[in-house]
Amino acid sequence: MAQVKVNPATTSGAPKSPRPFNRADLERNKIILWVVLAVIFLVLPFIGKPVLELFGPTVFSSTASAVNSTLLFVLLALGLNIVVGYAGLLDLGYAAFFAIGAYTMGFLTARGSPLYDTFHTNFWVALPISFLMAALFGVLLGAPTLGLRGDYLAIVTLGFGEIVPITINNLTKVTGGDTGLSGLEQPSFFGYQFTASSLEGWYLVTLIVVFFSIFMIRRLVNSRIGRAWMAMREDEIAAAAMGINLVRTKLLAFGLGASFAGFAGAIFANSLGSANPSQFKFDVSVLILAMIILGGMGNLWGVIAGAVALAMSDRYIIPFLTEQVRHVADGIQLTTSVVNGTRVTEANPIKDILTNVGTNSRLLIFGVILVTMMLLRPEGLFPNSRRKMELRTAPADDPQALITTDPLTQADEFRSINYNPSDVTDQSGNNDGDKNIKA
């Protein structure tokens, strides 16, 4: 807690801030910031492509696909953050909704889908349906867990998270089993035909969805619903006593959270042109959860930062590093000698180890990141500022109130609640001398 010592007695009288606090200014600056950000992100692929292609023919495509999946993970993290961060419902099976989104998209657009002959549609129609489908499942799977909390809720969601992909995998006739659905019809947009390799196109689609989601979440969090979620997260019983309908509030959180995964799943499946059950296993749920915890649960920007950091390291940095190690391993020449007319290759343990490390290190690096992050900053990189604000007592419009209260002042409040100073201390002073007064 960084504290600026403020003595309420001296600050309450005179005007204190050198520049008056202007809400309109702030709003205008914010809008400018947003527009600039949006423009930068929109033109990024068109500038980035020629620049990255200077480094090599595949650098752009590998970077761009990493960026695209990062954006999808941002979307997923934003959705899970509603459930875990805002509403405080620990969900360990979030990838299930991701799968449901992807497979709904698959059913509606894939040539391999059992529905294809009777009914199929294009991406733009299937997208909202996937969204609704995921939301529906969010509510359906959320409903039986309403009475649970904490670890128990985590366990049930983990159970659902395992059941959904296994079921998808097992219903071979419907979902294509472990080969999955393939040949999803990809959309066209005013003549621009999306394909699995149109990375810029998918980037823009995802980006627009992400921007829209951020906008929506910001509105939501400051609405009645958002406050209801946070109240529920802090104390369910108290929230219920305040008249918050726990059933509705929880189901809304589950449904909305899942709908984000539905979006992400639909875009994910269609951009790849296929959906496969192995893409939605437990490790995906954990990855998303780790993102929001790493970034700082309940803090929008923290969550986005966490998602970007982890998704980029998972899809880009770690593969890049391990590839370097493999390169080194490949570079080591094996010494061979001719013994009795046959070529004998000497075993080189260093090469073996390097190859092994270069091939198999993804989990290790990821695990080390998780553990060290937790040990160094268990509350996340950017802890939820709202929580700090919730502890604040002064009115929100007063900028001085942002400064955390001095412990002594707090203790004074503590004192004033709990005792009447005049009670014993003063009068004991008037008492006989043999009383030992320590006040």
Partner: protein, 482 residues
């Protein structure tokens, strides 16, 4: 008494009584007198036994001709007809708790809670024994061969074996959760490491190859020594490993937000899996076949001996004995440790009230470390026993993941934090797993491979238990922490 309709009516009546007794127990348990509980359970149990024996008699006319069988039959008949109705009547006449003062009532309630645990445990073991017999009477002449009693019995026995292993792993989850309220996601991977260590020890000691029979000149004695050594080394290794995990990844997070240690645990799980991957690469290996000459225990098929059936299919692998003996010894040891030794009692004390335990002079961190060591050692033993029992394709880097989740389900099912519950839950999950893998439910094996549905069955049970009885079978209602 020997006509079938009469028996069926009787069975229904007694089962109804049993159901009523169970209902009473669950509803207002502690107000029921212990004797009543006994009556409610003894009556239906005896009835079922009697009917089964009669059933066997009607199937196989040779059997009751021998004297002991007839004597048992007569004795059971007497119990059924005289003793158990008397018990039930006595139970109804016995006074309830009216007229007892509050402390006496509390004492009775206390006795009841312990009684209920015992009844449930005994009931589970009893069911495990009776189910095969029941299956025997029902499926003796079933048309598809898979549904014959011997197939079903094999399924149940295998279920119990894997259940015993799930129980061992589940104990690690439950011990740790009981003390630090942490779902130790890395525990399944400690089990995997144990299996790996055991594999290394056994292959080196016996000079055997992965998945192949041991060399022909290896004596049974050597094999047993190798297994015991592998067990000891693996237990020590995994105990130490779990201790270090706690020390490095969890200890600093005791006062951190609730989710931090959970994420840390998942991180450790990934690290261990990756170490496994380094060591064994992604191709699974298997323990050597340690008893190549006898895959099944000689003369185990007591049932077919009794009824004179010669084409029985029941197979009990020799290694099954290792499972039963090994798990049995470990469980007895654990029970002694927890209930009789000082450190075990300290563990329970810390689990029940950490602050009060500190005030008793118990070192909290040392006790937590101890729980981790014990949990790790049990997982290590489970790893070796699992490898020896399962043989094919067991040593994989991701071995711990699904088994860990199943064991965790078992711990939750039994009531997380409850040691008896973990064992009960383990057996139960083993049975569910094994049954859902088999063709027991009458689905034709040609349609789908049922083993793929086993995880869904297990997790389905997990979800149902959590929703309807979150404290698990033996879990006691803990005060909700707000």
């Amino acid at each position: 008494m020997n006509s079938l309709p009469v028996q069926v009516v009787l069975l229904i009546v007694w089962l109804g009584l049993g159901a009523y007794g169970t209902y009473m127990l669950l509803q207002k348990g502690y107000r029921v007198n212990n004797l009543k509980i006994l009556a409610y359970y003894v009556a239906p149990v005896v009835a079922i036994l009697y009917l089964i024996i009669n059933q066997i008699q009607s199937i196989d006319t040779a059997w009751p001709a021998n004297l002991p069988g007839s004597l048992i039959n007569i004795a059971l008949g007497i119990i059924l007809l005289i003793v158990s109705p008397a018990l039930v009547i006595a139970a109804f006449l016995l006074p309830g708790q009216k007229g007892l003062d509050a402390p006496a009532r509390a004492l009775q309630r206390d006795a009841f809670v312990r009684m209920r645990t015992r009844v449930l445990l005994i009931g589970a073991i009893f069911l495990a024994l009776v189910l095969p017999l029941l299956a025997l009477s029902l499926f003796k002449t079933a048309a598809p061969a898979e549904l014959r009693y011997d197939g079903v019995i094999s399924v149940i026995i295998n279920g119990l074996f894997s259940g015993a292993l799930f129980a061992l792993i589940a104990l690690g989850y439950t011990l740790v959760y009981g003390i630090v309220e942490l779902i130790n996601f890395a525990h399944g991977d400690v089990f995997m490491m144990g299996s790996l260590v055991g594999f290394t020890v056994i292959t080196i000691l016996l000079g055997a190859q992965s998945g192949r029979p041991v060399k022909a000149d290896t004596s049974i004695f050597m094999v047993i020594i190798a297994i015991i050594l592998a067990l000891i080394i693996s237990m020590a290794f995994c105990g130490l490993l779990n201790y270090l995990i706690n020390r490095i990844a969890y200890k600093r997070l005791r006062n951190a937000p609730r989710l931090a240690p959970l994420i840390s645990a998942i991180g450790v799980s990934f690290i261990l899996q990756n170490i496994g991957l380094y060591l064994i690469s992604s191709a699974p290996k298997g323990y050597p076949v340690l008893f190549p000459n006898s895959t099944r225990v000689a003369n185990t098929d007591l049932v077919s001996d009794i009824i004179g059936n010669t084409d029985s299919l029941i197979t009990i692998p020799v290694t099954g004995i290792l499972v039963i003996v090994g798990v049995g010894i470990l469980l007895i040891g654990l029970s002694y440790l927890i209930n009789r030794t000082k450190i075990g009692k300290a563990m329970r004390a810390v689990a029940q009230n950490r602050e009060a335990a500190a005030l008793m002079g118990i070192s909290i961190e040392r006790t937590i470390s101890f729980a981790f060591i014990i949990g790790g050692a049990l997982a290590g033993a489970a790893g070796v026993i699992y490898g020896v029992y399962q043989v094919q394709g067991t040593v994989r880097y991701d071995l711990g993941f699904q088994n860990g989740l199943f064991a965790f389900t078992a711990a939750v099912l039994g009531g997380i934090g409850n040691v008896n519950g973990a064992v009960l839950g383990g057996l139960f999950i083993g049975l569910i797993y094994s049954l859902s893998q088999s063709s027991f439910f009458g689905l034709s094996a040609s349609y789908v491979d049922l083993s793929i549905w086993a995880p869904v069955a297990v997790f389905g049970v997990l979800v149902l238990v959590m929703i309807f009885r979150p404290t698990g079978i033996l879990g006691e209602n803990v005060q909700e922490k707000v």
